[in-house]
Amino acid sequence: MMDFSFIVRRTGFLIVAIIFITAVSVSLSGTSPFQAINALMEGAFGNPQAVGASLNRSVPLILGGLAVTLPFRAGAFNLGVEGQLYVGAIAAAWIGAQPDIPPAIHLFLVLATGALTGALWAAIAAMLKLWFRVHELLSTLLLNYIALSLTSYLAGGPLKAEDMAAATRLIAPAARMDGFGQLGLHGGIVLAIMAALGIYIFLHNMQAGHVVSVTGDNATAARIGGMRPELTRAVVLIVGGSLAGLAGAVEVAATHYRFFEGFAPGLGFDGITAALIGVCAPLGTLIGGLALGFLKNGALTMDIFTQVPREAISIVQAVLIILITSRRLGLVRRELRISMGDP
């Protein structure tokens, strides 16, 4: 059943396509594609620090991707990861900077606050869907922009640090997630892997997870079986929001130690990419997040040492999404279908 040559052919096609597209975009910049790919790989895993940085970079991508994947399994589409991430981040930064919190629980509070705030933000979209039947595709998208403006206002206004223009205060040392070891990894990668595995186990081995899967596969069957698809979708949307908020909190706690305007541009959408590359399956999202993290980190080095801007990676991202979700190419067995009924 596993046709080996089939797999090799399809994977080979994927790799060739990516290389071709990258080469074309890269040569536009005057650099030789080989130089560029070399720099990319150097930056991604050329030395232990690079590997650590790549893994660290994957953490918010995995978590953000899971924020899309989990709701998707119930048939809800969470494109509001960016906004949920931002509000989670600023809430985490605020709590992190509070002086009178016992150090032992400070980090936990920071992460929990981020997750909770992200969940609340997603709850807005969930309620809009539950009460007013607004499709979450649009509402989560629009909420992103509202979140951006809101956090920008907060960072430059009420939550502003005295010595900064549009940033919050630094969080307390106890609330930070520092890297350690030769790789410079911080604890976030553990969180991310546990979250991915947890969701996998939830969906496959737990009854509540089974409800989610059935709701996503066949809402009518779910309803006949006594489930309530609308409620299920609302709940997973909120849980997804908590994952995105957690991603934002981790970014604050591990990387920036504060929130500032424009602190993670596009991170939420990169999480969506990770989910799509992983065909919205929990383990796939883990792989997708890791792959994207390595790619992005490598692109930074590529940017510094060659003339190729790091944004060239976005082109690779887009091509990857299309190639992997293409049913015609059949590179992955699971189908990804989002389109709804008549607009």
């Binding site: 910049s29 809009l128 509402s139 509202i146 206004g157 944004e311 976005s314 190419l329 008549d342």
Partner: protein
């Protein structure tokens, strides 16, 4: 006082113009049965291409033509990827948005060697078509909207072609196919037309009033237009009216002083208003999706 009213009026029209273009593009796609999430990317690509071509050639008109062409091209590419590679159209749209977001930044660095924004003196903007009265002085894309909206209205309501387009977008196109319509061709051309409109809207963003291009200039207007097309039930006249109202909301930013309310509030307002309007729309219709 009169100056403020007229000032608000022109600001409203200037803000509403790109919205109407995108909303029309969304409308055309909706009629073809497609929820075009790539409008944000098409709008941004239109803005970038128009500014870049204008900077390279000195002619804003070439910029507009290039923007319209590129927008239409994206529509065609999206449809081809959807049909040939069988990628879900919404995923395709998301990929286009990603690609445009990265490519514009990348090309700006490679071609112009700058980051963040194109220097204003590099770009030649579109000339104003009417010098006075001041509240009527806009560049071409604004005036072009009038025949565009009218034509769209007439097309879908009173022509045979409009009927065919609507039929193609109905359900999964099975009924249209039964009647011998080439559904694929009709949808494809709808996407191309929509993309061109979005491209024109983008050209107006960068060249229409001030000659500026800034990274991620579209700032969610593509999604706003999408929401507006839904709120207006994909009908040209109501959609245009909504766009004008939202253009007014967007123009408030420059007119209410910061001490009253922070400027970010006015940035949030249109999006929040879109949500509220969508919610209100949901109460009054039965939603088949979701």
């Amino acid at each position: 006082m009169e100056n403020i009213v007229l000032g608000l009026l022109s600001a409203t029209i200037r803000q509403a113009t790109p919205l109407i273009y995108v909303a029309m593009a969304a409308l055309v796609a909706n009629r073809a049965g497609v929820l075009d999430v790539a409008l944000e990317g098409k709008l941004l690509s239109g803005a970038f291409v128009a500014a870049a071509v204008s900077a390279l050639t000195g002619s804003p008109w070439l910029g507009v033509i290039a923007a319209v062409f590129v927008g239409g091209m994206f529509g065609e590419i999206m449809w081809t990827v959807h049909k040939r590679l069988q990628v879900d159209i919404i995923i395709t749209g998301l990929a286009v948005n990603l690609l445009v977001g990265g490519a514009t930044i990348m090309l700006m660095r490679i071609v112009f060697g700058v980051r963040g924004s194109l220097p204003a003196d590099m770009i030649t903007g579109l000339p104003v078509l009417v010098s006075k009265p001041l509240w009527l002085s806009y560049s071409m894309p604004v005036f072009f909207l009038i025949p565009l909206v009218v034509a769209t209205y007439v097309l879908y309501r009173h022509t045979a072609m409009g009927l065919r387009l609507r039929a193609a977008g109905f359900g999964d196109g099975e009924i249209a196919r039964t009647y011998g319509l080439d559904v694929d061709r009709l949808k494809r051309w709808s996407m191309i037309a929509g993309g061109s409109m979005a491209g024109m809207g983008g050209a107006y963003l960068s060249l229409g009033f001030l000659a500026v291009y800034v990274d991620d200039m579209s700032a969610g207007r593509g999604f706003m237009g999408l929401a507006l097309a839904l709120i207006g039930r994909s009908r040209p006249l109501p959609v245009t009216a909504w766009c004008l109202f939202f253009g007014f909301l967007l123009s408030l930013d420059g007119y209410v002083s910061i001490s009253v309310l922070p400027s970010q509030f006015f940035l949030m307002l249109p999006y929040a208003a879109s949500l509220i309007a969508l919610a209100a729309w949901g109460i009054f219709t039965t939603n088949k999706g979701g």
